[in-house]
């Protein structure tokens, strides 16, 4: 399961999660949270070996087309319809260190804003050449990239007229299960971001801005695909000496 660098693994506990930076559990503007939000206080404690450890996935898991959503569901010789883009960036931790070997899984609607899912009822059509899922693993510098089409915005049942801005869902594994994260990436310049009840579950504007990928003109490939850059930050871990480590000092 593991293919790792030859450096000694870090075993410190993770920085506490800044709960004020994240959305609270109960956010009535996003109606589904009302009956799905824990109401009692979380039990807070320093990470144990059960959270400091976590699964790591080898690069052998990844097939050639896994990070190419334009082609990984398409019939041979065909490709998904939409604006061709490359999404790339780095996975770092809160100390600014690269997180190599991080598994990223992503999913999204097609160019018309339609998901390939039986519960989805939006009238926009499916694209027969677009599945909507992909995955990759970060390299030694924590870098990743994938190719896809820009997803469309779509309406959803919440308020009478709520729409999701164009977005890509990300699931991230770091080196410890405590770092496990699911989030969404938005696109620079989209005025719908600030109207979205799900975006607005996050109380801090700067935190929302951390989810907006800028257009990366330098990495845009002429006559092929525009690039968007999306860096992801996972919880940092303590690396000071004098920890009361499990194996003893």
């Amino acid at each position: 399961m593991s293919e790792r660098t030859n450096s000694k693994p870090e075993t410190g506990a993770f920085f506490p999660r800044d709960r004020a930076w994240h959305a609270p559990a109960l956010t009535p503007g996003y109606k589904t949270s009302v009956l799905r939000s824990p109401q009692k206080a979380l039990l807070s404690l320093d990470g144990t070996i059960s959270e400091i450890t976590g699964p790591v996935f080898g690069h052998s898991l990844i097939d050639e087309l896994d990070n190419d959503l334009i082609h990984n569901f398409a019939k041979p010789g065909e490709s998904a319809i939409g604006e061709r883009i490359i999404v790339h960036g780095r996975v770092l931790d809160e100390r600014g260190r690269a997180v190599p070997g991080a598994l990223l899984e992503f999913w999204q609607a097609n160019a018309g804003g339609r998901y390939r899912h039986k519960k989805e009822s939006y009238l926009a059509p499916l694209d027969p050449n677009f599945g909507g899922c992909g995955r990759t693993i970060t390299d030694a510098e924590g870098s990743y990239a994938f190719r896809t089409i820009k997803p469309g915005p779509y309406p959803w049942p919440n308020g009478v007229n709520d729409w999701r801005p164009a977005h890509i869902h990300f699931s991230v594994f770091g080196h410890g299960f405590a770092q496990r994260l699911i989030t969404q990436m938005y696109f620079e310049g989209d005025p719908m971001i600030w109207k979205c009840p799900i975006v607005n579950t996050i109380p801090d504007r700067q935190a929302v801005e951390q989810l907006i990928a800028p257009l990366d003109w330098a990495n845009t490939i002429p006559f092929d695909a525009r690039a968007y850059k999306f860096d992801i930050v996972l919880r940092g871990r303590r690396s000071t000496l004098f920890e009361n480590r499990l194996e003893g000092n």
């Binding site: 994240h22 559990a25 039990l43 400091i52 992503f106 999913w107």
Partner: protein, 204 residues
Amino acid sequence: MVQQLGYLKETPSQTAGPYVHIGLTPNFCGIAGVYETDLGSRMVNDKTRGERITITGRVIDGAGAPLKDALVEIWQADAAGLYNSPTEIRGAADVNFTGWGRCATDAEDGIFSFDTVKPGRVPYSHDRQMAPHITFWIVARGINVGLHTRMYFPDEAEANAADPLLARIEHRHRVATLVATGSAPNYVFDIHLQGEKETVFLDI
């Protein structure tokens, strides 16, 4: 002025949404041919050491209804109490056991299910052990930040009584929310998001 610490902020969490299956269990939701199998669907094989167990359960909302669109992941030690992780420095875990599982709740009845082995005990500090337990992580539409909790075993009363995490639960009747029901090899672990039986969730 002082020096800057220079730490970055963690990327804010967002809900996994109703279509989490497309990304994490595509075969489960009918998107065939992209990945051979859904990741985390099989934790054990014929050579895995330890006592085989099955864990089933539901994630139940504040109106008493099971979530039919949730996704549950578990993470646990092997039968000898070792994690299959590069961060595990006490020894080598069973190579035939991943320790990690992922299961979408059923679209009809909301049930999740894991075939695994009973974990061994793991240390809390150099002189204290934790009771055998399995880490749970729950995401779904309506859950803004993935929920961490743990499942303990009903047939480990003595170990549970000495467990450092369970000991931290102030309202003692809530300890039961982290202990499965049933008995070997079939355990049941229902997770309640709200209400009188609200599960103890962890900020860990």
